[in-house]
């Protein structure tokens, strides 16, 4: 009953380099807790070699370009799609989380109106990450800013720090989460750029997909780092703006026509 498969643990160290992400935070934990299991685990991870997602790549920077000229007033397909994808219920209360919201704006001077979805801007210099005491807010190698909800203590400092109101706090117990998108009470959450899709090898977010399906094509998703990608090309060609550009956060979500 106690024959542990230690022999298997002795070969294969393939996974080691992937642990590069282990930051200050994880290092503390890793030391004591993982000792016996680690090597075995490396093999385990190495095993399904065919996996398309060998982890987030620093070569990539995911981003979105939102064309307010194309975004239809009154349409909120992207918002609905996000909810469906991530199992977020439609907000019925002031306290309910909203990962993405539709904003109607009117220029005070000219009276010109426009509308656009606003979600986490996946800043390259994210204030939410800077302020997070436990390091639960973090930026992945591929530029996606996430909350590690196993480490989030629910202090809401990141909510204070985010200039875009992109973060919500889960104020009550949830049920029927989607297996892909665990969420729960007491933690802060926000748009994940549909990270589960990306890691699975898909290259479009639910919101962008829905917008395209509706024929608006207002949301263009892609790799900002890849000079050949459409998003990179368009960001180069048209002068896309960043929200609150004065803060110099180098957002991953850009806007056209503001």
């Amino acid at each position: 009953m106690n024959a542990e498969p230690r022999s298997a643990a002795d070969d294969g160290q393939a996974g080691l380099s992937r642990r590069g992400w282990l930051g200050v935070a994880a290092a503390g934990m890793a030391g004591v807790l993982l000792a016996p299991g680690i090597r075995l685990m490396e093999i385990a991870q190495a095993a399904p070699a065919a996996s398309p997602a060998a982890g987030a790549s620093p070569a990539v920077r995911w981003g979105m370009l939102i064309d307010t000229n194309r975004c239809a007033p009154g349409c909120d397909d992207c918002v609905t799609a996000c909810r469906t994808e991530n199992g977020v219920a439609a907000p019925s209360r002031r306290t309910d989380p909203q990962w993405i919201r539709k904003i109607e704006i009117k220029e005070v001077r000219t009276g010109r109106t426009a509308s656009a979805p606003v979600m986490c801007q996946h800043c390259a210099e994210p204030p939410c990450v800077d302020v997070c005491p436990t390091g639960a807010s973090f930026k992945r190698a591929d530029g996606i800013v996430l909350v590690d909800r196993h480490a989030c203590i629910g202090c809401r400092y990141c909510v204070m720090a985010c200039p875009y109101k992109a973060r919500s706090f889960v104020h009550e117990e949830l049920a029927d989460q989607k297996p892909e998108v665990p969420r729960g009470k007491g933690c802060v959450e926000g748009c994940t750029l549909c990270v589960h899709r990306l890691d699975r090898g898909q290259t479009i977010t639910a919101c962008a997909e829905a917008c395209a399906r509706a024929g608006h094509n207002a949301i263009l998703f892609g790799d900002l780092n890849d000079p050949d990608s459409e998003i990179a090309r368009r960001v180069r060609e048209v002068s896309a703006t960043q929200l609150r550009a004065d803060l110099k956060l180098d957002t991953g979500v850009r806007y056209l026509g503001l």
């Binding site: 220029e107 997070c132 109101k165 609150r244």
Partner: protein, 395 residues
């Protein structure tokens, strides 16, 4: 000597403190059980009444230690006999404040995560280091006060505490100062302002605690000492009022922040209650009235000093409420020059009504601090002994 009467009073007060602190714990438990829906906080005002209490206690903790510093570092004889009490109050307030902060977390069960995972870039994480460091330094400081063999280290420990205290209050101020996104906060003046406020609040609390303690022992503060402390309180209150004024003036000059200042100071665009609280609560009741009580010779006396101290503390709560809640209620400006509308409250002033659990939690923190201070004074010799000190110097 512990007489049956003092023992009875001790247990009565301890019971009271325990009930209040217990109510706070119960409130926190309910909050954890139901989630933060049962509080007034939401996704706009994410820090509410608990933070007002917590930050008050933490800032005052740093200020209350001033009395000890003046005695140990600057060698002022009148303050030396008060150093122990001042250290104890500092620890108690720190503990009370941290209790409230911790229990308000969305996941208080993950306290171990908070203690083992540090993001060194986070001001909040620095503060965790600052608070624990503060507690450690004050403990060492108290130790040198109680152990005659260590008396020669008192000054060194006192200086360390003094320096640490300034850093700590700067850190607390910076929690807000670093919030670049918010018009209410981003300001270099916050750090010095918090330091001045801490001196005033801390001294006010110290005066009240000392009065209670001496009253319990049937003694009085010598008049000379009282007059000095009164003057000091006045100076601190006046100086912080001045810096608050400067902070708002500079903000008024900045075009971007004009709207916010109009909101918070003059109640424009729905900021009415914050403006009222600011002027009536902080400026009038929390600053001008205490100044009168302290400086008008006609009013001089123990009672008016204590009344002034009490008012300063009320003013502190008013100011913090305006600062913390008012600052968040004002909408974020994501699209400058645009009128904005959305399902998520964009462009609208956020509403916030504190709920009972929040209030209980905050008061519970005060209760815990009270309990710690009470038990501390019972277990250790904390009473300021002016006669002994005075005689000791003469001899």
């Amino acid at each position: 000597m512990q007489t049956p009467a003092s023992t009875r009073n001790f247990w009565l007060l301890a019971g009271l403190g325990a009930i209040v602190a217990g109510a706070g714990l119960a409130a926190a438990h309910t909050m954890e059980l139901h989630g933060h829906v049962i509080t007034g906080m939401g996704n706009e005002v994410v820090w509410g009444l608990p933070h007002v209490f917590a930050i008050f206690m933490i800032v005052a903790a740093s200020g209350v230690l001033n009395v000890a510093s003046v005695g140990s570092v600057f060698g002022q004889a009148a303050y030396k006999p008060r150093a122990r009490l001042s250290g104890l109050l500092c620890l108690a307030l720190l503990a009370g404040g941290l209790m409230v902060l911790m229990l308000d977390l969305g996941r208080p069960d993950r306290i171990v995560v908070a203690m083992t995972h540090y993001n060194l870039r986070s001001v909040f994480a620095w503060n965790v280091v600052l608070y624990s460091g503060m507690a450690a330094i004050v403990l060492v400081y108290l130790w040198t006060l109680f152990e005659p063999a260590l008396a020669r280290w008192t000054r060194a420990a006192g200086i360390a505490a003094l320096v640490w205290r300034f850093v700590l209050t700067t850190g607390t101020g910076s929690i807000f100062g670093f919030l670049v996104a918010r018009q209410a906060y981003q300001s270099a003046l916050l750090a010095p302002l918090f330091i001045l406020l801490s001196l005033a609040w801390g001294l006010a609390l110290f005066l009240l605690a000392q009065a209670a303690l001496l009253h319990g022992a049937g003694r009085r503060m010598p008049d000379a000492v009282r007059q000095r402390l009164a003057r000091l309180l006045g100076i601190f209150v006046a100086a912080s009022l001045y810096l608050v004024a400067v902070q708002h003036m500079t903000a008024l000059y900045e075009a971007r922040r004009g709207a916010f200042e109009a909101f918070i100071l003059f109640g424009q665009g729905g900021g009415g209650r914050y403006a009222l609280l600011f002027w009536a609560g902080y400026v009038l009741a929390g600053s001008l009235l205490p100044l009168l009580l302290v400086f008008l010779p006609r009013l001089a006396g123990e009672r008016s000093l204590l009344a002034a101290a009490l008012l300063v503390i009320l003013g502190a709560f008013a100011w913090l409420y305006v600062f913390i809640v008012g600052g968040q209620a004002f909408p974020l400006e994501i699209f400058p020059g645009h009128a904005v509308r959305s399902s998520f409250g964009d462009g609208a002033v956020a509403s916030y009504f504190p709920s009972l659990p929040e209030l209980l939690l905050g008061v519970g923190g005060l209760g815990a601090a009270f309990l710690i201070a009470l038990v501390g004074t019972r277990l250790f010799d904390m009473l300021p002994r002016d006669e002994l000190a005075a005689k000791g110097q003469g001899a």
